[in-house]
């Protein structure tokens, strides 16, 4: 069940910090343990940075999830950037096109319970992660 979604702009490295803080606040409100909060916030930080660096900026949608007694948080990062030509390559650890460590996408996937990515050259990138309490 969807309890409403909020959208935040990611246009600068300060926005990445604000995105982390918003995600932290939602995770706390959902009763996440400290370790679960930290994992979700860290994944959000990696994906927000990707949105900024590779996507040229974009947005983060934050949704609070309730499914019976389960509580979760879903994050969607969207940009209108150049897109990723080879998604499976981009998910591999150590692969980077931007001078980073190449841990961003694969790391975020490992830190989340659910992960999906849609991207094609010229059509931007959309990455979804969800983590449950």
């Amino acid at each position: 069940m969807l309890q409403g979604s909020e959208t935040f702009l990611i246009r600068s490295s300060e926005d990445v910090v604000l995105a982390r803080q918003q995600v932290r606040a939602r995770a706390i409100a959902q009763g996440f343990s400290l370790v679960d909060q930290t994992k979700l916030v860290t994944a959000a930080s990696e994906l927000a940075r990707n949105t900024l660096q590779y996507g040229g900026g974009g947005v983060m949608h934050v949704e609070v999830l309730t499914e019976g007694v389960r509580r979760g948080v879903r994050l969607v990062f969207e940009d209108q950037g150049p897109g990723i030509p080879d998604v499976s390559q981009a998910l591999r650890d150590g692969y980077s096109s931007g001078g980073g460590l190449g841990l961003g996408l694969g790391g975020a996937k490992r830190l989340a319970n659910e992960f999906s990515i849609e991207s094609s050259p010229g059509a931007g990138t959309r990455v979804m992660i969800a983590r449950w309490r």
């Binding site: 803080q21 370790v35 790391g107």
Partner: protein
């Protein structure tokens, strides 16, 4: 410009990171620290991250870079105070911070640096 303060204490440089750093601030700290090691002839750097609620791959890389650069400049670095949740997350992220010496708190970090500097002094001393 926003900066993380670096304290000089004898041969040591001390840094306590108390804010949620954006990427440019992390890069500035890396540059400032390497510059100060050279100007002050510092032999050791202690970085306290006990206030950090999150270390992602960018901040992790900054810590690894500082450790590597200070080593090249003949100084030693120790990172202290990492929170357990941060440690768990870093390893899962795929960034176990190889090459970065760590200690549980400032006191143990200082002790580690003192022992290590003393050992280096003995090696450097002329033999009998």
């Amino acid at each position: 410009m926003e900066r993380i303060p670096i304290l000089k204490m004898g041969n040591y440089l001390l840094v306590t990171i108390q804010v949620d750093m954006h990427d440019r601030l992390a890069m500035t700290l890396q540059d400032d620290l390497t510059a100060k090691i050279v100007t002050h002839h510092s032999r050791a750097v202690l970085i306290d991250i006990s206030a950090l609620e999150m270390v992602d791959s960018f901040i992790g890389r900054m810590l690894a870079n500082i450790a590597a650069m200070s080593r090249v400049l003949d100084a030693e670095t120790v990172v202290v105070g990492m929170r357990p949740a941060v440690a768990i997350t870093l390893v899962e992220l795929g960034m176990p911070l190889k090459g970065v010496r760590t200690a549980l708190n400032v006191e143990q970090g200082m002790a580690l640096l003192q022992t290590s500097l003393a050992a280096r002094d003995r090696e450097d001393a002329p033999g009998f």
